[in-house]
């Protein structure tokens, strides 16, 4: 079965086509541009399908990263996946976007994934290993994170951005920081993870955004009096 995975919850616009029969990625497209998710996503999907010589109606499952992530970009991926699903009757399965980054790390000991939530905050979650998240993702200022979280090895763009906070390196055997650990989200990793979960009959999330924050909006107290005093 073909899986089409896409994720726009981070600055990456990432798309991958995965064949569960051969357990391999047929084609993938990764671009990092936090301001143009809306423009880049559909052309990327088109390119991936063309490169693999497949069409969208051959896809058996759509896999979409549901965040957490900055909302405007996040919604591009979800609206796209849901509309694909509605048009073709293809099931749309959600995955936590942080799980894709965790999975791509291949780490076997506990660590943290942190992405940039803007406004000086990170989206983060704790993992026991690359496949096992411990608890729900959250959003916090790095300096407000519990001590045991910041002392854990951390991966993702949020860990890079706040290197002063996340000080424990994901060390290779030699001790220096490993350069091969993922920074950006990759739909290929998301697709591999989805294939594993499907094979094991595991649950997915509904394709609904994980915002983790309420919209900013103030209830106006009263209108401004215009009569000069």
């Amino acid at each position: 079965m073909l899986l089409l995975a896409l994720d726009t919850a981070t600055p990456a616009v990432t798309v991958a086509l995965y064949d569960t029969d051969g357990d391999r990625v047929l084609a993938a497209a990764d671009q990092v541009d936090a301001r143009r998710h809306g423009e880049l996503l559909l052309p990327s999907v088109d390119r991936v399908l063309r490169e693999a010589g497949r069409s969208l109606d051959e896809v058996g499952r759509l896999i979409v990263g549901v965040g957490p992530g900055p909302y405007t970009g996040l919604r591009v991926g979800l609206a796209t996946a849901e509309a694909f699903g509605a048009a073709l009757g293809t099931p749309v399965l959600g995955l936590c976007s942080l799980d894709g980054i965790a999975y791509a790390s291949g780490l076997e000991s506990p660590f943290v994934v942190a992405t940039d939530a803007r406004r000086k905050e990170v989206y983060w979650a704790r993992y026991a290993d690359a496949r096992t998240r411990l608890g729900d993702p959250a959003v916090d200022r790095p300096e407000d994170l519990p001590e045991d979280v910041v002392s854990m090895p951390a991966i993702g763009a949020g860990a890079r951005l706040y290197e002063g906070t996340f000080t424990a390196p994901c060390a290779a055997d030699g001790g220096e920081r490993r350069a091969d650990l993922p920074v950006d989200q990759s739909a290929a990793a998301l697709a591999c993870l989805a294939a594993q979960k499907l094979a094991k009959g595991e649950d997915f999330l509904p394709p609904r955004p994980l915002y983790l924050r309420r919209p900013d909006a103030r209830v106006p107290t009263n209108y401004k009096v215009v009569t000069p005093k």
Partner: protein, 378 residues
Amino acid sequence: MADEPLVLGIETSCDETGVGIVRGHTLLADAIASSVDEHARFGGVVPEVASRAHLEAMVPTIERALSEARISARDLDGVAVTAGPGLAGALLVGVSAAKAYAYALGKPLYGVNHLASHICVDQLEHGALPEPTMALLVSGGHSSLLLAPDITADVRPLGSTIDDAAGEAFDKVARVLNLGFPGGPVIDRYAREGDPQAIAFPRGLTGPRDAPYDFSFSGLKTAVARWIEAKRNAGEEVPVRDVSASFQEAVTDVLTRKAIRACKDEGVDHLMIGGGVAANSRLRSMAEERCADAGITLRVPRPKLCTDNGAMVAALGAEMVARRRAPSDWDLPADSSLPVTEPHVPGSGGPAGEHVHGHAPGHSHDHVHELSGKNLYS
């Protein structure tokens, strides 16, 4: 006629998630999900609240429209979507969904202009638009006088508001009167029982040296607020009905006077009025009287087609198909300030997606008033 273009249109520029389906000039479905109640306590549309609601409602509203129209999506000749102007994050939900829907079905995509759609919707009510058409568009987001020789390719702005949109003035006056949000319908209701001549509120930009087709409602709004505050400070009761009627009279007087002057100056014998404020009963009756006196044919769609909806987008999309305008490319951006002079956003000429090209430069034209003033990616 079965060979007229069958088009689905998606509108998400403000707080209504609209999906309409038309065949040529025939309305087949007009499905709407509104988040207006969620904005009411904020006294205006909150962009992030609107965007979240659009994503929730998008696919269910598409499906509702399809079942209402009793057609199969496979039979569509195209998918149209509001590409702008509007709230950036809100537009992006509709544009993303429309692209995906069109791509999945192998249909051409038409990114169209929200304002041109407001004009084109009248084809569903009164048949083909005369060319040229004079259009007065009035809502919470826009107040414009537009001359449209060809709704798919040539729309010329004659004038627009230099401060508040007409609908915004209704909202603000309603707030001063503690009548809630949105203000248009409730003021219309009170005004019916009031005296429109009771208070002489100012008519903005109507002096001999003022721009003949531009509007200004900010001074009027302030004058109304001052008048009410003076009453309150004097310990007198505020005559809500008379204030509503007199305020509404001032707005509709200026709107219709300028629209008719534009028709006369340009030698156009048709006036189309659209946008949410076109649902106002006094605007309708005053426009009827004044158009009749001036020998101008007035076209105002039914109120449901005047407010934001998907049918208007589908109507313009169908016209694009009928006139063989170029579809948009798959990298179509949501442009919060798409100029009214661009009725649609054509692609590079080939079928959508074949020639993906660069990002269109930004524009700085009139756009929907955003409560938070935050931009797309804050």
